[in-house]
Amino acid sequence: MRKENTDFVRFLKEETFIEWKLFPTDELDVYWNEFIKNHPEEWNNIEMAEKHFRKVNISSHKIPPEVKRDAIKRMEHSIQKLNRKRNIRRFTYAAVACAVVLVLSLLYIQKAIDHSEQDFIASTDYIVGNELDSEDILFISGDKTASFHKNISIAINGDRVARVRSELNEDKQISLEQNTRNKLIVPYGKRSEIVLSDGTRAWLNSGSILEFPSVFSGNTREVFLSGEMYIEVAADKRKSFYVHTSGYKVKVYGTKFNISNYPGSPSSVVLVEGSVALQSAEKEELFLLPEEQALYSEETGAFDTRKVDVNSFISWKNGYLSFEDTPMIEALKQIERYYNLSFNFGDDVSFHGLTCTGKIILSDNLDNVMTALTLISSTNYKYKKENRLIYIYKEY
Protein backbone atom coordinates (compact mmCIF):
# COMPACT_ATOMS: atom_id res chain seq x y z
CA MET A 1 0.00 0.00 0.00
CA ARG A 2 2.62 2.44 1.15
CA LYS A 3 4.93 1.68 -1.74
CA GLU A 4 2.23 2.46 -4.28
CA ASN A 5 1.76 5.92 -2.88
CA THR A 6 5.33 7.15 -2.98
CA ASP A 7 5.19 8.25 -6.60
CA PHE A 8 4.73 11.81 -5.43
CA VAL A 9 8.28 11.87 -4.06
CA ARG A 10 9.43 12.69 -7.60
CA PHE A 11 8.02 16.13 -7.19
CA LEU A 12 9.65 16.66 -3.82
CA LYS A 13 12.98 16.15 -5.52
CA GLU A 14 12.22 18.62 -8.25
CA GLU A 15 13.71 22.02 -7.51
CA THR A 16 11.10 23.98 -9.44
CA PHE A 17 8.43 22.34 -7.28
CA ILE A 18 10.38 23.03 -4.09
CA GLU A 19 10.88 26.64 -5.03
CA TRP A 20 7.23 27.00 -5.98
CA LYS A 21 6.19 25.74 -2.55
CA LEU A 22 8.71 27.86 -0.71
CA PHE A 23 8.45 31.07 -2.63
CA PRO A 24 5.66 31.13 -5.18
CA THR A 25 6.66 33.75 -7.71
CA ASP A 26 4.27 34.68 -10.52
CA GLU A 27 6.49 32.87 -12.96
CA LEU A 28 6.36 29.62 -10.97
CA ASP A 29 2.60 29.90 -10.49
CA VAL A 30 2.17 30.06 -14.26
CA TYR A 31 4.55 27.16 -14.82
CA TRP A 32 2.91 24.77 -12.37
CA ASN A 33 -0.66 25.68 -13.21
CA GLU A 34 0.18 24.95 -16.82
CA PHE A 35 1.73 21.65 -15.78
CA ILE A 36 -1.38 20.54 -13.87
CA LYS A 37 -3.57 21.51 -16.81
CA ASN A 38 -1.46 19.45 -19.20
CA HIS A 39 -1.03 16.49 -16.86
CA PRO A 40 -4.33 15.96 -15.06
CA GLU A 41 -3.24 12.45 -14.10
CA GLU A 42 -0.52 13.99 -11.90
CA TRP A 43 -3.01 16.02 -9.90
CA ASN A 44 -3.18 13.47 -7.11
CA ASN A 45 0.59 13.18 -6.83
CA ILE A 46 1.02 16.90 -6.70
CA GLU A 47 -1.51 17.14 -3.92
CA MET A 48 0.34 14.41 -2.01
CA ALA A 49 3.65 16.14 -2.61
CA GLU A 50 2.25 19.39 -1.27
CA LYS A 51 1.06 17.60 1.83
CA HIS A 52 4.37 15.91 2.44
CA PHE A 53 6.32 19.03 1.71
CA ARG A 54 5.04 20.29 5.04
CA LYS A 55 7.19 17.62 6.65
CA VAL A 56 10.21 19.44 5.33
CA ASN A 57 11.41 21.30 8.36
CA ILE A 58 13.49 24.35 8.47
CA SER A 59 15.60 23.82 11.50
CA SER A 60 14.87 26.01 14.48
CA HIS A 61 17.10 27.09 17.30
CA LYS A 62 16.01 26.04 20.72
CA ILE A 63 17.00 28.06 23.75
CA PRO A 64 18.69 25.83 26.32
CA PRO A 65 16.22 25.55 29.23
CA GLU A 66 18.64 27.02 31.78
CA VAL A 67 19.31 30.01 29.49
CA LYS A 68 15.59 30.58 29.13
CA ARG A 69 15.09 30.38 32.87
CA ASP A 70 17.83 32.92 33.47
CA ALA A 71 16.48 35.24 30.79
CA ILE A 72 13.01 35.23 32.34
CA LYS A 73 14.49 35.90 35.78
CA ARG A 74 16.52 38.78 34.35
CA MET A 75 13.43 40.26 32.70
CA GLU A 76 11.43 40.03 35.92
CA HIS A 77 14.30 41.60 37.80
CA SER A 78 14.49 44.52 35.34
CA ILE A 79 10.75 45.07 35.60
CA GLN A 80 10.86 45.00 39.39
CA LYS A 81 13.68 47.50 39.43
CA LEU A 82 11.78 49.76 37.06
CA ASN A 83 8.69 49.46 39.24
CA ARG A 84 10.66 50.36 42.33
CA LYS A 85 12.20 53.36 40.57
CA ARG A 86 8.71 54.50 39.57
CA ASN A 87 7.47 54.11 43.11
CA ILE A 88 10.43 56.06 44.43
CA ARG A 89 9.76 58.76 41.87
CA ARG A 90 6.12 58.85 42.86
CA PHE A 91 7.17 59.04 46.48
CA THR A 92 9.61 61.82 45.57
CA TYR A 93 6.84 63.82 43.94
CA ALA A 94 4.75 63.46 47.05
CA ALA A 95 7.68 64.40 49.25
CA VAL A 96 8.47 67.45 47.12
CA ALA A 97 4.84 68.50 47.26
CA CYS A 98 4.88 68.22 51.06
CA ALA A 99 8.11 70.17 51.25
CA VAL A 100 6.65 72.90 49.07
CA VAL A 101 3.61 73.18 51.30
CA LEU A 102 5.85 73.29 54.34
CA VAL A 103 8.09 75.99 52.87
CA LEU A 104 5.07 78.00 51.79
CA SER A 105 3.56 77.85 55.26
CA LEU A 106 6.89 78.82 56.82
CA LEU A 107 7.09 81.72 54.38
CA TYR A 108 3.60 82.70 55.31
CA ILE A 109 4.44 82.65 59.02
CA GLN A 110 7.67 84.51 58.27
CA LYS A 111 5.76 87.07 56.30
CA ALA A 112 3.32 87.57 59.15
CA ILE A 113 6.21 88.04 61.58
CA ASP A 114 8.11 90.33 59.22
CA HIS A 115 5.11 92.35 58.31
CA SER A 116 6.15 95.54 60.03
CA GLU A 117 9.68 95.22 58.71
CA GLN A 118 8.49 94.56 55.16
CA ASP A 119 6.36 97.68 55.21
CA PHE A 120 9.43 99.59 56.11
CA ILE A 121 11.44 98.12 53.23
CA ALA A 122 8.62 98.66 50.76
CA SER A 123 8.23 102.26 51.77
CA THR A 124 11.85 102.98 51.06
CA ASP A 125 13.41 100.71 48.52
CA TYR A 126 11.51 98.31 46.45
CA ILE A 127 8.31 97.00 45.06
CA VAL A 128 7.57 93.32 44.93
CA GLY A 129 5.47 91.90 42.15
CA ASN A 130 3.99 88.46 41.94
CA GLU A 131 3.17 86.48 38.80
CA LEU A 132 -0.37 85.21 39.13
CA ASP A 133 -1.90 82.09 37.66
CA SER A 134 -3.27 82.56 34.20
CA GLU A 135 -7.01 82.43 33.71
CA ASP A 136 -9.09 81.63 30.65
CA ILE A 137 -11.03 84.06 28.53
CA LEU A 138 -14.74 83.35 28.90
CA PHE A 139 -17.45 83.93 26.36
CA ILE A 140 -20.93 83.56 27.81
CA SER A 141 -24.14 83.49 25.83
CA GLY A 142 -27.31 82.53 27.69
CA ASP A 143 -26.43 79.41 29.63
CA LYS A 144 -23.54 78.51 27.32
CA THR A 145 -20.00 79.29 28.35
CA ALA A 146 -16.96 78.81 26.17
CA SER A 147 -13.47 79.24 27.59
CA PHE A 148 -10.24 79.96 25.75
CA HIS A 149 -6.73 79.69 26.99
CA LYS A 150 -5.22 82.03 24.41
CA ASN A 151 -6.23 85.46 23.18
CA ILE A 152 -9.17 85.36 20.81
CA SER A 153 -10.91 87.39 18.20
CA ILE A 154 -14.66 87.05 17.80
CA ALA A 155 -16.80 88.08 14.87
CA ILE A 156 -20.56 88.09 15.24
CA ASN A 157 -22.61 88.03 12.08
CA GLY A 158 -26.26 88.94 11.45
CA ASP A 159 -27.38 85.33 11.94
CA ARG A 160 -26.34 85.45 15.61
CA VAL A 161 -23.38 83.19 15.05
CA ALA A 162 -20.12 84.04 16.78
CA ARG A 163 -17.03 82.87 14.98
CA VAL A 164 -14.20 82.63 17.47
CA ARG A 165 -10.61 82.40 16.40
CA SER A 166 -7.94 81.83 19.04
CA GLU A 167 -4.24 82.48 18.77
CA LEU A 168 -3.87 78.74 18.38
CA ASN A 169 -5.74 79.18 15.10
CA GLU A 170 -8.62 77.06 16.19
CA ASP A 171 -11.92 78.17 14.81
CA LYS A 172 -15.05 77.71 16.82
CA GLN A 173 -18.61 78.66 16.00
CA ILE A 174 -21.05 79.50 18.72
CA SER A 175 -24.69 80.26 18.00
CA LEU A 176 -26.07 82.98 20.23
CA GLU A 177 -29.44 83.24 21.89
CA GLN A 178 -31.86 85.79 20.44
CA ASN A 179 -32.68 87.94 23.44
CA THR A 180 -29.74 87.49 25.69
CA ARG A 181 -26.98 89.78 26.72
CA ASN A 182 -23.68 88.10 25.87
CA LYS A 183 -20.63 88.54 28.00
CA LEU A 184 -16.99 88.49 26.99
CA ILE A 185 -14.74 88.25 30.03
CA VAL A 186 -11.06 88.94 29.39
CA PRO A 187 -8.96 88.22 32.49
CA TYR A 188 -5.73 89.98 33.41
CA GLY A 189 -2.89 88.83 31.22
CA LYS A 190 -5.17 88.33 28.17
CA ARG A 191 -6.57 90.44 25.35
CA SER A 192 -9.43 89.95 22.88
CA GLU A 193 -10.89 91.54 19.81
CA ILE A 194 -14.54 91.52 18.86
CA VAL A 195 -16.61 92.60 15.90
CA LEU A 196 -20.23 93.13 16.94
CA SER A 197 -23.22 92.34 14.75
CA ASP A 198 -23.39 95.94 13.42
CA GLY A 199 -19.72 95.86 12.34
CA THR A 200 -18.48 97.84 15.36
CA ARG A 201 -15.02 96.72 16.29
CA ALA A 202 -13.68 96.66 19.83
CA TRP A 203 -10.30 95.74 21.30
CA LEU A 204 -10.62 94.61 24.89
CA ASN A 205 -7.66 95.10 27.14
CA SER A 206 -6.73 92.80 30.01
CA GLY A 207 -9.15 92.60 32.89
CA SER A 208 -12.22 93.73 30.97
CA ILE A 209 -15.81 92.62 30.63
CA LEU A 210 -17.98 93.62 27.70
CA GLU A 211 -21.68 92.90 27.60
CA PHE A 212 -23.53 93.17 24.32
CA PRO A 213 -26.68 91.81 22.63
CA SER A 214 -26.56 89.20 19.87
CA VAL A 215 -28.20 91.69 17.50
CA PHE A 216 -28.97 95.34 18.06
CA SER A 217 -32.74 95.07 17.67
CA GLY A 218 -34.08 98.25 19.31
CA ASN A 219 -33.71 101.92 18.40
CA THR A 220 -30.32 102.14 20.07
CA ARG A 221 -27.18 100.07 20.27
CA GLU A 222 -26.04 99.60 23.85
CA VAL A 223 -23.09 97.81 25.37
CA PHE A 224 -21.75 97.65 28.93
CA LEU A 225 -18.09 97.84 29.80
CA SER A 226 -15.90 97.40 32.79
CA GLY A 227 -12.17 97.62 32.16
CA GLU A 228 -10.67 99.10 29.05
CA MET A 229 -11.42 98.96 25.36
CA TYR A 230 -10.57 100.80 22.22
CA ILE A 231 -13.64 100.89 19.99
CA GLU A 232 -14.36 101.85 16.42
CA VAL A 233 -18.11 102.28 16.21
CA ALA A 234 -19.77 101.55 12.89
CA ALA A 235 -21.73 104.54 11.65
CA ASP A 236 -25.49 104.25 11.81
CA LYS A 237 -27.33 107.57 12.13
CA ARG A 238 -30.67 105.99 12.98
CA LYS A 239 -29.30 103.94 15.89
CA SER A 240 -27.15 105.71 18.44
CA PHE A 241 -24.45 103.72 20.10
CA TYR A 242 -24.05 103.85 23.88
CA VAL A 243 -21.26 102.54 26.06
CA HIS A 244 -22.34 102.18 29.65
CA THR A 245 -19.87 102.12 32.50
CA SER A 246 -20.43 102.02 36.22
CA GLY A 247 -20.38 105.84 36.53
CA TYR A 248 -21.45 107.27 33.19
CA LYS A 249 -22.48 106.52 29.66
CA VAL A 250 -20.89 107.54 26.40
CA LYS A 251 -23.13 108.47 23.49
CA VAL A 252 -21.34 107.89 20.26
CA TYR A 253 -21.80 109.51 16.94
CA GLY A 254 -19.76 107.14 14.71
CA THR A 255 -16.28 107.34 16.02
CA LYS A 256 -13.06 105.91 17.40
CA PHE A 257 -12.17 106.20 21.05
CA ASN A 258 -10.56 104.54 24.01
CA ILE A 259 -12.42 104.06 27.22
CA SER A 260 -10.75 102.99 30.40
CA ASN A 261 -12.79 102.16 33.45
CA TYR A 262 -10.81 99.98 35.81
CA PRO A 263 -11.73 99.82 39.45
CA GLY A 264 -9.06 101.64 41.45
CA SER A 265 -7.74 103.60 38.48
CA PRO A 266 -8.92 106.91 37.11
CA SER A 267 -11.69 106.36 34.58
CA SER A 268 -11.30 108.20 31.32
CA VAL A 269 -12.44 108.50 27.73
CA VAL A 270 -9.97 109.54 25.04
CA LEU A 271 -11.42 110.50 21.70
CA VAL A 272 -9.44 109.61 18.62
CA GLU A 273 -11.85 110.50 15.86
CA GLY A 274 -15.43 111.80 15.49
CA SER A 275 -17.44 112.94 18.44
CA VAL A 276 -18.88 111.55 21.65
CA ALA A 277 -21.04 112.88 24.41
CA LEU A 278 -20.46 111.85 27.99
CA GLN A 279 -23.19 111.76 30.52
CA SER A 280 -22.98 110.85 34.17
CA ALA A 281 -26.09 110.60 36.28
CA GLU A 282 -25.79 114.01 37.83
CA LYS A 283 -24.42 116.24 35.13
CA GLU A 284 -25.17 117.70 31.75
CA GLU A 285 -23.91 116.12 28.56
CA LEU A 286 -20.28 116.86 27.83
CA PHE A 287 -19.02 116.83 24.28
CA LEU A 288 -15.50 115.72 23.66
CA LEU A 289 -13.27 116.78 20.80
CA PRO A 290 -10.71 114.56 19.11
CA GLU A 291 -7.42 114.25 21.00
CA GLU A 292 -9.17 115.19 24.19
CA GLN A 293 -9.33 113.12 27.33
CA ALA A 294 -12.17 113.29 29.77
CA LEU A 295 -11.24 112.19 33.26
CA TYR A 296 -14.15 111.13 35.37
CA SER A 297 -14.28 111.93 39.03
CA GLU A 298 -16.25 109.40 40.99
CA GLU A 299 -16.76 111.77 43.88
CA THR A 300 -18.25 114.68 41.98
CA GLY A 301 -19.55 112.78 38.98
CA ALA A 302 -17.93 115.45 36.83
CA PHE A 303 -15.45 115.27 33.98
CA ASP A 304 -12.18 117.05 33.61
CA THR A 305 -11.04 117.49 30.01
CA ARG A 306 -7.56 118.03 28.70
CA LYS A 307 -5.62 117.70 25.48
CA VAL A 308 -3.57 114.50 25.22
CA ASP A 309 -1.36 112.52 22.90
CA VAL A 310 -3.91 110.01 21.73
CA ASN A 311 -1.34 107.42 20.78
CA SER A 312 -0.19 106.80 24.32
CA PHE A 313 -3.74 105.76 25.21
CA ILE A 314 -4.40 103.36 22.39
CA SER A 315 -0.92 101.95 21.78
CA TRP A 316 -1.69 98.88 23.92
CA LYS A 317 -3.88 97.50 21.14
CA ASN A 318 -0.91 97.71 18.80
CA GLY A 319 1.35 95.81 21.17
CA TYR A 320 3.27 98.51 23.02
CA LEU A 321 2.84 100.96 25.84
CA SER A 322 3.71 104.58 25.39
CA PHE A 323 4.41 106.82 28.37
CA GLU A 324 4.99 110.50 28.71
CA ASP A 325 5.67 111.72 32.22
CA THR A 326 3.39 108.92 33.28
CA PRO A 327 3.49 108.19 37.00
CA MET A 328 5.53 105.06 37.63
CA ILE A 329 2.64 103.59 39.59
CA GLU A 330 0.29 104.07 36.65
CA ALA A 331 2.80 102.44 34.29
CA LEU A 332 3.22 99.53 36.67
CA LYS A 333 -0.55 99.17 36.90
CA GLN A 334 -0.79 98.85 33.13
CA ILE A 335 1.94 96.24 33.10
CA GLU A 336 0.34 94.49 36.03
CA ARG A 337 -2.90 94.11 34.11
CA TYR A 338 -1.30 93.18 30.85
CA TYR A 339 0.86 90.42 32.33
CA ASN A 340 -1.40 89.39 35.19
CA LEU A 341 0.95 90.41 37.96
CA SER A 342 0.26 91.76 41.38
CA PHE A 343 2.46 94.53 42.76
CA ASN A 344 2.38 95.39 46.40
CA PHE A 345 2.27 99.18 46.17
CA GLY A 346 0.56 100.75 49.10
CA ASP A 347 0.05 104.44 49.64
CA ASP A 348 3.45 104.87 51.19
CA VAL A 349 5.48 103.48 48.32
CA SER A 350 8.39 105.70 47.45
CA PHE A 351 7.53 105.46 43.76
CA HIS A 352 5.12 108.31 44.20
CA GLY A 353 6.27 111.32 42.28
CA LEU A 354 8.37 109.22 39.94
CA THR A 355 7.48 109.16 36.28
CA CYS A 356 8.56 107.40 33.16
CA THR A 357 8.74 108.49 29.54
CA GLY A 358 9.21 106.20 26.56
CA LYS A 359 7.87 103.11 24.91
CA ILE A 360 7.74 99.54 26.07
CA ILE A 361 7.04 96.76 23.64
CA LEU A 362 4.58 94.33 25.15
CA SER A 363 6.59 91.25 24.33
CA ASP A 364 5.88 87.78 25.63
CA ASN A 365 9.07 88.03 27.61
CA LEU A 366 8.30 89.79 30.89
CA ASP A 367 12.02 90.22 31.60
CA ASN A 368 12.38 92.46 28.56
CA VAL A 369 9.37 94.51 29.61
CA MET A 370 10.57 95.02 33.17
CA THR A 371 14.06 95.87 32.03
CA ALA A 372 12.62 98.42 29.60
CA LEU A 373 10.53 99.95 32.36
CA THR A 374 13.52 100.42 34.65
CA LEU A 375 15.38 102.06 31.74
CA ILE A 376 12.69 104.62 31.00
CA SER A 377 11.99 105.49 34.61
CA SER A 378 13.17 108.88 35.86
CA THR A 379 15.19 107.41 38.70
CA ASN A 380 17.63 104.63 38.22
CA TYR A 381 15.79 101.51 39.23
CA LYS A 382 16.86 97.92 38.90
CA TYR A 383 14.76 94.91 38.48
CA LYS A 384 15.30 91.36 39.62
CA LYS A 385 13.19 88.27 39.12
CA GLU A 386 13.21 85.30 41.41
CA ASN A 387 10.89 82.46 40.51
CA ARG A 388 7.57 84.24 40.26
CA LEU A 389 8.52 87.24 42.29
CA ILE A 390 9.64 90.48 40.73
CA TYR A 391 11.62 93.05 42.65
CA ILE A 392 12.03 96.60 41.47
CA TYR A 393 14.57 98.41 43.59
CA LYS A 394 16.81 101.40 43.70
CA GLU A 395 20.46 100.79 43.18
CA TYR A 396 22.92 102.54 45.41
Binding site: R2, N5, T6, V9, L12, K13, E14, E15, T16, I18, E19, L22, F23, P24, T25, D26, E27, L28, Y31, H52, K55, V56, N57, I58, S59, S60, H61, K62, I63, V67, K68, A71, I72, R74, M75, E76, S78, I79, L82, N83, R86
Partner: protein
Protein backbone atom coordinates in the same frame (compact mmCIF):
# COMPACT_ATOMS: atom_id res chain seq x y z
CA UNK B 1 -2.35 48.93 38.04
CA UNK B 2 1.11 49.38 36.61
CA UNK B 3 2.27 46.22 38.38
CA UNK B 4 -0.42 44.26 36.54
CA UNK B 5 0.70 45.72 33.27
CA UNK B 6 4.29 44.75 33.97
CA UNK B 7 3.36 41.21 34.89
CA UNK B 8 1.53 41.05 31.58
CA UNK B 9 4.75 42.06 29.88
CA UNK B 10 6.64 39.33 31.74
CA UNK B 11 4.20 36.65 30.60
CA UNK B 12 4.30 37.96 27.04
CA UNK B 13 8.07 37.78 27.20
CA UNK B 14 7.84 34.16 28.25
CA UNK B 15 5.45 33.41 25.42
CA UNK B 16 7.42 35.00 22.58
CA UNK B 17 10.98 34.43 23.75
CA UNK B 18 11.49 31.21 21.75
CA UNK B 19 10.33 32.44 18.38
CA UNK B 20 12.10 35.79 18.72
CA UNK B 21 15.30 34.01 19.70
CA UNK B 22 14.99 31.70 16.71
CA UNK B 23 14.51 34.66 14.39
CA UNK B 24 17.51 36.55 15.80
CA UNK B 25 19.76 33.53 15.40
CA UNK B 26 18.60 33.01 11.83
CA UNK B 27 19.53 36.62 11.19
CA UNK B 28 23.08 35.63 12.02
CA UNK B 29 23.40 36.99 15.55
CA UNK B 30 25.00 35.05 18.38
CA UNK B 31 23.05 33.72 21.37
CA UNK B 32 24.08 36.45 23.81
CA UNK B 33 23.36 39.36 21.45
CA UNK B 34 20.01 37.82 20.55
CA UNK B 35 18.94 37.40 24.17
CA UNK B 36 20.10 40.93 25.02
CA UNK B 37 18.20 42.42 22.10
CA UNK B 38 14.98 40.64 23.09
CA UNK B 39 15.45 41.81 26.67
CA UNK B 40 15.96 45.36 25.40
CA UNK B 41 12.77 45.52 23.36
CA UNK B 42 10.66 44.24 26.25
CA UNK B 43 12.34 46.57 28.69
CA UNK B 44 11.57 49.44 26.36
CA UNK B 45 7.91 48.40 26.34
CA UNK B 46 7.92 48.76 30.14
CA UNK B 47 9.76 52.07 30.17
CA UNK B 48 7.45 53.57 27.57
CA UNK B 49 4.47 52.37 29.58
CA UNK B 50 3.18 50.64 26.47
CA UNK B 51 -0.09 48.89 26.84
CA UNK B 52 0.31 45.52 25.16
CA UNK B 53 -3.42 45.10 24.73
CA UNK B 54 -3.42 48.27 22.64
CA UNK B 55 -0.88 46.85 20.19
CA UNK B 56 -3.10 45.28 17.59
CA UNK B 57 -0.71 42.68 16.24
CA UNK B 58 1.71 41.88 18.99
CA UNK B 59 3.78 39.20 17.32
CA UNK B 60 4.36 41.30 14.25
CA UNK B 61 5.16 44.31 16.43
CA UNK B 62 7.74 42.34 18.40
CA UNK B 63 9.39 40.93 15.28
CA UNK B 64 9.72 44.34 13.76
CA UNK B 65 11.09 45.86 16.98
CA UNK B 66 13.58 43.02 17.35
CA UNK B 67 14.82 43.32 13.80
CA UNK B 68 15.29 47.08 14.17
CA UNK B 69 17.01 46.60 17.50
CA UNK B 70 19.41 44.05 16.05
CA UNK B 71 20.25 46.31 13.13
CA UNK B 72 20.88 49.15 15.61
CA UNK B 73 23.19 46.94 17.65
CA UNK B 74 25.10 46.04 14.54
CA UNK B 75 25.29 49.68 13.55
CA UNK B 76 26.66 50.80 16.94
CA UNK B 77 29.35 48.18 16.59
CA UNK B 78 29.94 50.03 13.30
CA UNK B 79 29.77 46.86 11.32
CA UNK B 80 27.29 48.61 9.09
CA UNK B 81 27.67 51.98 7.41
CA UNK B 82 24.95 54.56 8.02
CA UNK B 83 23.40 54.29 4.58
CA UNK B 84 22.33 50.84 5.57
CA UNK B 85 18.95 50.86 3.94
CA UNK B 86 20.37 50.09 0.53
CA UNK B 87 19.19 46.62 -0.42
CA UNK B 88 22.64 45.33 -1.26
CA UNK B 89 24.02 46.30 2.09
CA UNK B 90 21.30 44.50 4.01
CA UNK B 91 22.15 41.33 2.10
CA UNK B 92 25.78 41.75 2.88
CA UNK B 93 25.38 42.43 6.55
CA UNK B 94 22.40 40.35 7.57
CA UNK B 95 22.99 36.83 6.33
CA UNK B 96 20.01 34.55 6.63
CA UNK B 97 20.71 30.84 6.99
CA UNK B 98 18.15 28.07 6.86
CA UNK B 99 18.91 24.39 7.52
CA UNK B 100 16.55 21.75 6.28
CA UNK B 101 15.53 18.39 7.64
CA UNK B 102 12.90 16.01 6.39
CA UNK B 103 11.12 13.82 8.92
CA UNK B 104 8.58 11.75 7.10
CA UNK B 105 7.86 8.10 7.91
CA UNK B 106 6.48 7.57 4.47
CA UNK B 107 9.67 8.55 2.73
CA UNK B 108 12.76 6.39 2.88
CA UNK B 109 15.83 7.78 4.54
CA UNK B 110 17.90 8.02 1.37
CA UNK B 111 15.13 9.85 -0.38
CA UNK B 112 14.64 12.16 2.56
CA UNK B 113 18.26 13.09 2.38
CA UNK B 114 18.01 13.84 -1.29
CA UNK B 115 14.94 15.99 -0.76
CA UNK B 116 16.74 17.90 2.01
CA UNK B 117 19.67 18.48 -0.29
CA UNK B 118 17.45 19.68 -3.07
CA UNK B 119 15.55 22.06 -0.76
CA UNK B 120 18.81 23.42 0.57
CA UNK B 121 19.99 23.82 -2.96
CA UNK B 122 16.93 25.87 -3.83
CA UNK B 123 17.32 27.95 -0.69
CA UNK B 124 20.97 28.59 -1.42
CA UNK B 125 20.14 29.96 -4.81
CA UNK B 126 17.89 32.56 -3.22
CA UNK B 127 18.93 35.86 -1.78
CA UNK B 128 19.32 36.35 1.97
CA UNK B 129 16.13 38.42 2.00
CA UNK B 130 14.12 35.83 0.08
CA UNK B 131 15.18 33.27 2.66
CA UNK B 132 14.09 35.65 5.41
CA UNK B 133 10.70 36.00 3.74
CA UNK B 134 10.35 32.22 3.52
CA UNK B 135 11.30 31.92 7.15
CA UNK B 136 8.78 34.50 8.30
CA UNK B 137 6.09 33.03 6.08
CA UNK B 138 6.51 29.32 6.81
CA UNK B 139 8.03 29.18 10.24
CA UNK B 140 6.55 32.25 11.87
CA UNK B 141 3.38 32.21 9.79
CA UNK B 142 3.33 35.91 9.08
CA UNK B 143 1.25 37.34 6.27
CA UNK B 144 3.01 38.93 3.30
CA UNK B 145 1.74 42.30 4.44
CA UNK B 146 3.30 41.85 7.87
CA UNK B 147 6.52 40.57 6.36
CA UNK B 148 6.84 43.59 4.13
CA UNK B 149 6.42 45.83 7.19
CA UNK B 150 8.85 43.85 9.34
CA UNK B 151 11.53 43.88 6.67
CA UNK B 152 10.55 47.25 5.24
CA UNK B 153 10.59 45.95 1.69
CA UNK B 154 8.03 45.36 -1.00
CA UNK B 155 7.13 41.69 -1.25
CA UNK B 156 5.49 42.13 -4.62
CA UNK B 157 8.82 43.18 -6.04
CA UNK B 158 10.63 40.09 -4.81
CA UNK B 159 7.82 37.83 -6.00
CA UNK B 160 8.38 39.00 -9.53
CA UNK B 161 11.93 37.73 -9.47
CA UNK B 162 12.95 35.26 -12.11
CA UNK B 163 12.99 31.75 -10.71
CA UNK B 164 16.52 30.35 -10.73
CA UNK B 165 15.47 26.71 -10.56
CA UNK B 166 13.04 27.18 -13.41
CA UNK B 167 15.68 28.75 -15.60
CA UNK B 168 18.02 25.90 -14.77
CA UNK B 169 15.50 23.17 -15.61
CA UNK B 170 14.59 24.93 -18.85
CA UNK B 171 18.26 25.01 -19.76
CA UNK B 172 18.47 21.30 -19.02
CA UNK B 173 15.46 20.58 -21.23
CA UNK B 174 16.97 22.60 -24.03
CA UNK B 175 20.15 20.58 -23.82
Amino acid sequence: MSTNKFSHIASTYNEYLDCLYDYALHLGFDEQTSMDAIHDIFYKLCVNNSRLDEISNLKFYLFRSLRNRLIDLKRTKSEIPDNFSAEGLICEHLPFKLNVTVEDELIEKEESEEISRRVENVLNQMTQRQREIIYLRYIQECSYEEISKIMQISIAASRNLVSKSLTKSKDKEAM
